[in-house]
Amino acid sequence: MVEKQILKEVLDVAMVRGGDFADIFIEEKKIVGIGCEAGRIEKVHSGVDVGAGLRVISGHSTAYAYTNDLSRTGLLEAAKIVSHASTGDKKEVNMDFTKVKPMVDFEFMEHPGEVPTDRKVEVVEAADKAARSLDKNKIKQVLVGYGDVVQKVAIANTVGDYVEDERVRTRLMVHAVAALDATIQTGYEAVGSLCGFELFKNYSPEQVGEAAARRALDMLEAKPAPAGKMPVVMASEAGGTMVHEACGHGLEADLVQKELSVYAGKKGQLVASEEVSVFDDATIDTRYGSYRFDDEGVPARRVNLIENGVLTDFMYDRLTAAKEDRKSNGHGRRESYQHKPIPRMGNTCIAPGRTDPDKIIRETKNGLLVKKMGGGQVNTTTGDFVFDVAEGYLISDGEIGPMVRGATLTGNGPEVLRIVEMVGSDLGFTIGTCGKDGQGVPVSDAQPTMAIKQLIVGGTTHGEPNGKIRRI
């Protein structure tokens, strides 16, 4: 995207007043977004965002600048800005720009740039129609969003690496609203992958639409969730929101080094039940959080974080790795050229165990079965988390009972991982956009069916099962 000779010149200027390391991240991002609401194609958007981010690290300080202007003059201007902020001695630089080899390769079958907009509109219409036709009376509103992103990047740095990469992501989400009398409930379903338009060979738009509408309709019949402490079974379909929130963030090296993580200083220690192993692997084929290289040009690989309950590693970017005199393990990601890279997750998973998932439910006397999770939030310092249950059922005597709504799970990450009693042999994924320090990156997370001894369930039923909670 920019000639190597110019990159060299720019990095030279960036380091002219000293520094340990400098890199440049050049990006061209083309997006298409289609939105459908009330059965009408409301929005067809497209755009291109081009820019470069330049960074100089000296000691523990980072100087960062970005610009939309990719001309030689524009880039040199940004280089001058970062050079002013850097101090100290200049480390040896290497500007060989050797191409880095990835550990995995992804192939994009149907490049979104070559798929006519009409076909994308058809996908949206099909999902909308499927959701509506499930129950023409009760389904009041359907929102469908389609998006594809083609991101081309070039990364060069003063340790001599050069990486060019293309990331293609496609997603479809459906949000359905169902109403009966005065009760309104919603259902959500989303699919997305590191892939092109072939996404819809694996997931039909109709299935996605129906799943969202089905969830909204079922919720109309659901009872308010009970409140209090109880055993919780997380089905694999629930995906890994819990592992992402409850322990993933605490395993990011920047939070660990700032002692903002409950896992700081615990490497080699037992931090979870021996049933639990956790890894992050961005090389899994076509998952939403997959990538060939991270945003610092480091090849992605599988990183084992917790093995049989013992904390083994953290997720590092170059800066946090350098602080510990080790190498990055490929977790330096950024939202765009406008952001400096920080340690982030890719595809975070709790490894499957050996227990039959059905057996886990049978052996749970009474409790809550979580089939679909909503959003969540974690305080990495204390490990306290809360997340929303999008689809939950009561379990009584080992049998799945009625659906409940309005439940949230409140707990403490490290504590929960210690009280995991059974781990199933299955594995289910969910996708999302993870936010940290104001940067959103695509991620996925996964877990097997798991039995947790007890969690605090926040519901609206307290003492009086038919309480006076008013529903709008």
Binding site: E42, K43, G47, A227, G228, T382, V386, I472
Partner: protein, 449 residues
């Protein structure tokens, strides 16, 4: 030629391109932002970031359809390509009789939103501000052990809106702010605290106060433990009350009402909150960080009373949703950046201050929870208003704050909560563009051990 004129020129060119390629009407929104952010840890600059970004968002209209494209390429070729893209997208969208652009407004508010003090202050002074915050936090209590982030930030923005109905507008604005997040540690217990101060005037930022506030928030939570499940009166700190206010923002837009996803639909003139609750949106609020003379499509900003003394008075509108309801736009066509279209959104959005001092609000409670932090507010259901969130705070016993509490869940419905508000403090405080005073709610369900 100054930058304003260059920008207006590019915007006009983009509109003309679109018209020549067959658009019946067109609108170009150009913005250029310059941002500086400084993060300090232990007296040292950890990150210094300088950012510059410009771009164009182009809307075109033809045969009742509309299309949009954006680009960071403002060269003549880039502007032409953007027009081509927008027109191609337009062809795929559904027809809609309410698609329209606004005409120029009769008058625009005059606002003091461009403090040159922000631009003129030396970078070294800005770094010192972040350092002072850190120092005053550490001086507050020796248990403040970790500074997560002590940062200063400012921005300078230039916005131009030109449309084919004769609109030709431009403004410049600037903002600045400081933010501190830290951790207090005592033995095995760590608790987080934060505080922030964002505004339009450089010399009004108060780093010492922000430092002390963040430290106090963390220290007072040391030793927190869950309570038993109970029903109790709760007091929401301004930050927490602002979170709830944010939750109902989308439901107060004309868009949500028209699309059947607002819990306020069909309730104009009805009681939706206790009679001491008044909620305002004001895009021209003096000193408001979201204040600007016009919104993302060039409509003059204004003050809109949404809920007055508990009665729902109206909704927020952009040009499209206003036309659909046969009313005037309230100047709430908000753009996230040039990469987005003007959607109905809040500007400076707040609960009006009451008359009671906070101490009185607390003293009147026999047994309750003073909530200082919530988790998972974004998981609340904005359509039904149902929420169930994690809460932490301080126990109130006989009118006194006694011990810290964490790991509780609070469930309910937002309308129910607003109806049960029985006191509003006199301490309106803004967190960015949203704000609230301290609010007391008669009774809520708290789940714990």
């Amino acid at each position: 030629m100054d930058k304003e004129e260059v920008f207006l020129g590019s915007a006009e060119r983009a509109v003309n391109n679109a018209r020549q390629m067959g658009a019946e009407s067109a609108e170009a929104y150009l913005s250029s932002t310059k941002e500086l952010s400084i993060e300090v840890r232990e007296g040292q600059v950890e990150t210094m970031k300088l950012a510059e970004e410009s771009g164009l968002g182009l809307r075109v209209f033809r045969e009742g359809r509309t299309g949009f494209s954006f680009s960071t390429d403002l060269s003549p070729e880039g502007l032409e390509e953007a027009a081509r893209q927008a027109l191609a997208n337009c062809g795929k969208a559904s027809e809609d009789p309410y698609n329209a652009l606004p005409s120029p407004g009769a008058s625009y508010p005059e606002l003091d939103i461009n403090d040159v003090g922000i631009r003129e202050a030396a970078v070294e002074d800005k770094i010192d501000m972040a350092r002072n915050m850190e120092e005053s936090a550490r001086a507050y209590d020796p248990r403040i052990k970790i500074i997560e982030s002590s940062s200063y930030q400012d921005g300078d923005v230039l916005v131009a809106v030109v449309n084919s109905l004769g609109m030709r507008l431009v403004y410049r604005g600037a903002y600045c702010g400081i933010y501190l997040a830290l951790v207090a540690v005592d033995g095995n217990d760590s608790q987080t605290g934060f505080a922030l101060d964002f505004g339009l005037k450089y010399n009004q930022l108060k780093p010492d106060q922000v430092g002390r506030m963040a430290a106090q928030r963390a220290v007072r939570m040391l030793g927190a433990a869950p309570l038993t499940t109970r029903k109790a009166s709760v007091i929401l700190e301004p930050y927490v009350a602002t979170g709830f206010l944010g939750l109902i923002g989308p439901a107060l837009t004309g868009e949500a009402v028209q699309k059947g996803r607002s819990l306020f639909a069909g309730k104009i003139g009805s009681r939706v909150a206790s009679d001491i609750v008044t909620i305002i949106d004001d895009g021209a609020l003096p000193g408001g960080i979201a204040s600007a003379p016009f919104d993302g499509e060039g409509v003059p900003t204004s003050r809109t009373g949404l809920i007055e003394q508990g009665i729902l008075k109206g909704y927020l509108y952009n040009t499209y949703t206003a036309k659909k309801d046969g009313v005037k736009s309230t100047g709430n066509g908000v753009r996230s950046s040039f990469k987005g279209t003007p959607e109905v959104g809040v500007t400076n959005y707040y609960i009006e201050a009451g008359t009671k001092p906070v101490e009185e609000l607390i003293n009147e409670v026999k047994s309750g929870l003073y909530i200082t932090d919530v988790m998972g507010m974004h998981t609340a259901n904005p359509i039904s208003g149902d929420f169930s969130i994690g809460v932490a705070g301080l126990l109130i016993e006989n009118g006194e704050l006694t011990k810290p509490v964490r790991g509780m869940a609070m469930g309910g419905n937002i309308i129910e909560l607003m109806e049960k508000v029985d006191a509003v403090g006199n301490d309106l405080q803004f967190f960015g563009s949203k704000g609230s005073p301290t609010i007391r709610v008669a009774e809520m369900t708290l789940s714990g051990t």
